[in-house]
């Protein structure tokens, strides 16, 4: 698939409509790469003129910050901001709620002020402006439960965008007991993704998977690459991977575009 970089736009003397911030997971993690590609499919379907930073992109520093390494975070932030400001970036969209939160809320006081969207918010905008239509019946009648990512939901009070677009797939949206502001974390946040959990009687992702299984879903929808990993592992642990798919909202939408 052809994806243009900011450097290429620059060389042509053009500005893209949006910058797609792919994020480290979206760039390297095999599962998350599929989400990245699904979102690109959506952007292409809506004829969005977008760019990525490609080899120039670097970790936002979000995970370092939450691990307590403010130095590393600010080093990363300042480097990224220099790059983004150099390209005169105005609008950023990302599939990672952690990058979304970090760039939107923590970059401004370091000199990086942008309009930042989580991909579910951007997809919602594409649909409501008529640029994207979801006509396929791929998920019609399927039971889908949406797991709120902490950094989209509680952290930024965005509970509606992912649900609003999931409804467009004509799926039957079912809520877990803990949802929206009381949603349970998948267990990956705060740098937990990169370390072994402390001693306890259960892993957080297992508990969250049990929450999801209670709704008897066909699909568990996520909006974060880390949540996706955690929930996928949880479903495998429960030996339900043949019955229940864990898919990002972007994938569900990409599979529901007009064929």
């Amino acid at each position: 698939m052809t994806v243009k970089t900011m450097a290429e736009f620059m060389a042509e003397g053009k500005q893209p409509e949006i910058l797609f911030w792919v994020g480290s997971a979206g760039s390297y993690d095999d599962r998350a790469k599929k989400i990245t590609k699904a979102f690109v499919k959506i952007l292409n379907a809506a004829n969005v003129d977008f760019a990525v930073l490609g080899q120039e992109e670097s970790s936002t520093g979000d995970v370092a910050k939450r691990a307590g390494n403010e130095f590393l975070f600010q080093m990363q932030a300042v480097m990224n901001i220099e790059l983004l400001n150099g390209y005169e970036i105005k609008k950023i969209v990302t599939c990672d709620p952690h990058s979304y939160n970090c760039i939107k809320n923590e970059y401004p006081s370091l000199g990086g002020v942008y309009e930042v969207y989580h991909h579910t918010q951007y997809i919602k905008e594409l649909i409501s402006s008529g640029r994207l239509s979801i006509d396929a019946d791929t998920y019609k009648g399927k039971r889908i439960t949406f797991h709120d990512p902490c950094y989209l939901g509680r952290a930024n009070s965005e509970y509606d965008a992912p649900r609003d677009i999931l409804v467009k797939t004509k799926a039957n949206l079912v809520e877990m007991k803990r949802h929206k502001r009381t949603a349970l974390c998948c267990g990956a946040g705060g740098a937990q993704m990169f370390k072994e959990p402390e001693k306890g009687d259960k892993d957080v992702n297992i508990l969250r998977t049990e929450d999801a299984l209670e709704t008897k879903p066909n699909i568990i929808a996520t909006g974060c690459p880390y949540c996706n990993t955690m929930m996928t592992d949880g479903v495998k642990n429960k030996e339900k991977e043949d019955e229940i798919a864990v898919l990002d909202v972007a994938e569900l939408i990409a599979n529901s575009l007009d064929n």
Partner: protein, 437 residues
Amino acid sequence: MTYLPNILFAIALIVGIGYFAKNVKRLIRNIKLGQSIDASDNKAERWRNVALIAFGQSKMVKRPISGILHVIVYVGFIVINLEVLEIIIDGLFGTHRIALNVLPTEVYGSLIGTFEILACLVLISVIIFWIRRNVLKIARFIKREMKGWPKTDGNLILYFEVVLMTLFLVMNASDIEFQSLNSGNVVSQFIAPWFSSLPESTLHLIERGTWWLHILGILVFLNYLYFSKHLHILLAFPNVFYGSLKPKGQFNNLEAVTKEVKLMMDPDADPFAAPAEDTSEEEPAKFGASDVMDLNRVQLLNAYTCTECGRCTSACPANLTGKKLSPRKIMMDTRDRLEEVGKNIDANGGVFKDDGKQLLGDYITNEELWACTTCNACVEECPVSINPLSIILDMRRYLVMEQSAAPSDLNNMMSNIENNGAPWPYNQMDRLNWADE
């Protein structure tokens, strides 16, 4: 001699309020041990929060059972305290139910009637609270950090309220004059018959006795606050006012770090320059927090405000899965350590003498700090805008930046970011490979 009760009353009032004021001063002194923090922005929104969250209890009722019961006790507490105003005037001037001289009987009656109904509702609510804690043993009330004093404290408050409400009702029931008005004795008229066989003089003694115990009880309760989790009845208001207005996901950027990073990234800086002669006496900034003095004043106010309800802990993913971390314990530890530091200062003539202890390690362990997923469930749950997460983060910062004491997996992750701009050991040049796969 006729003035003796008035004088005794005035002394009780002065001692009661005086000792409380002394402890409030100590409390403010302790909070000021923390770093100053600017919360002067958005006054309007802050007052709005005080109105909705503190006065309006909007977050309390997110859990309907405890929320509604709490609203009853809270409204009862505020409204019945109007009666205390009358008691104080009566006590100082030797009058009896002075408000009857000012208000028409029906108005007075309807006021006292309201108080009596509320007192009854408070009694019922408090008994349900007691059952929830001691019979039903609801999980959040019997967690590890709730053993010993915190448990006793919680029950003592309930006993206090039972006693105060009972005294109020018995006081009204044994007041012959008040009962003969037959206005406002909505509840006490049913208690009055229990005393009907007693001679008038005994009845008068009971009335006086309950009157005195009621007001003395209130003064004791007031002074109990400082030593109890119950301070929230006062501190919830300033605490909500100073609560963060930013999106919950936004963690503060440390200014001290920004300065150093700017210096490092400055292309004009000469890397070989001799360090400037440091003439300032200023200590180098400490990154993160290892003790209460490193926390900011809002965080310390948070600690005093916490009433140990445990809603945070009952929503914490780490705690729910059996890890040691409990956000409530973070707040309780912070307060306990702050009190210890305060007592140390009092004992050493106003200066803190190093006691070889600190919040980190002696109260809060690394294991607790590293179990946090920063999911903000605790922050979301707190009905009075306490933020345990900010303390956890500040202590992680100390562990990582001052002690390089992160778990080894996290050190690997961080060196990956330093070396190749991703938390995994992948080459930055491969960032766009997904497009061709």
